[in-house]
Amino acid sequence: MIDIVGILTANVLCVVLITLGGMLISWSVHFVPVGGAPAAMAQATGIGTGTVQLAAGAGLTGLVTAGAMMNMTDSMALVVASGAVGAMIMIGVTMIVGTWVYVYGVGVPPASAKVDYDPITKDRQDIYVSQGTEGHGLPTVSFVSGIIGGALGGLGGALIYYSLMSVSTGLTATNLVGLASIFAVGIFFVNAVIPSYNIGGTIEGFHDPKFKKWPKAVQASFVATLLCALASVLTIGGL
């Protein structure tokens, strides 16, 4: 029988950081401009894929970068920052190539249907929205919002991975990496799914009215990630 109370008291900081990481991921997903199936037909502003899929793609790329960095340094700040950078690169590259396709392949200018003027560039948006659509492409405000989302998601994922790797355990280094990385991926997915109920398929970024709903998702993520954190820390700590 493992010493549940002992493991949890020894690793209470890890549980707190994992939970914080999960909440960060949940918040980050609201920033990512996704348009789902309508955006794939250039009928909605944002990237033409699902919320969970894009957030997971970006966050897991961040996790790969954070894992590489953790092999080289012990600095927590550096590992977490590398996670954010990896995720930002993935989402930034995806969005710029998405812009190529919308502009050169489909022939529509980036335009938001949720605001009349881009909050960052102050450009008029509504007259550039083609008839019968809810906007298309990635105007500057959505692009910047996506980058912020990628950064927060990568940060959260890296924080979870770093915390799981810091749990005191009897595992060998290889087994610990395997277990910690799989738990990090799992916790990432849990928190990428929860906000999609708020988003309901499409969101343009932080200027979208749906963005205001984020506190509910973050609260739900707090509960879900806390349970995940307890399970993962007990598993790794008890082995």
Binding site: G50, S82, T174
Partner: protein
Amino acid sequence: MEPLIGMGVLALMGAAATVAGASEDLESDVGSQSNPNSQVQLAPQMMYPHRIYNKAISGEPPSNALMCAIGGAVTSVLMTAFSMSILFAISIGALVAAVVHGSYCVTAYMGRTASQKRYKQPIYLDIIRSHVPVMIGYSFITTFCIIAIAYMMTAILDHPFPLTLLAFIWGITIGAIGSSTGDVHYGAEREFQNVEFGSGLNAANSGNIVRRAESGLRNGIDNSWFCAKFGGPVTGIAFGMTVFLSGWVTTVFDASISTAVGWMSVVAGVGIILLLILWNRRIEVSARNAYGPYKEEDDEEVAA
């Protein structure tokens, strides 16, 4: 590790990723996977039966992650338990994954199309025979390249994650990129070549996809022929850039030398991001100038 070897491996990984990205997107175009499939699925219900392959096994990221994880697991087992050479291990791993994918392709087409019997949509057996080998071929190339990337990361760049997990993660990422970039070219342009280029796609056109090809009736292979000119290659560039740039910042600025050098990698990454934001802004401005507004400005100001 020698910085030059690191850069060489990174370049090879970038090249493999570019090939993988292109083949991933073309595979999804042949089979009509991911979001544009909603129109292929909808068309018979709007009285437009067609000969386009209709499969959406799942979202592209989980589907590719499954393929790559199967391939990665088989490769790992063959390498460790059977001491097989890496080239054969990756080939056999990718082959197993591609065949599993092929079986999903068949069941997805059969199931989806059979459910549309009431809309008079036939199941074409010749479409299955001609399209499934193409999809198996593309998915073999994708899986082969991804496992090769994962192997190079673990064996040469000393990445701590296990090979199978890396293959899984890159599978998720390639699917996310493919469905965000190349699929838009298929969904917004190829499926709706019957509306004027650049006019936008009115939601009222939903389901009215182009069903006649350059010659005969259009099928999935015709779609991949078209998308191979733009959507596929740009997906490849996107995934290649992601793999290359995210590895480049940590390889060039090696944090094992000192923490300060590690922080330079973060600065370099942020610099790349700023360049991308500016680039997007330039394209946005040039597109607005080139295409112009859809509505008269005065009308909207009165309405506003």
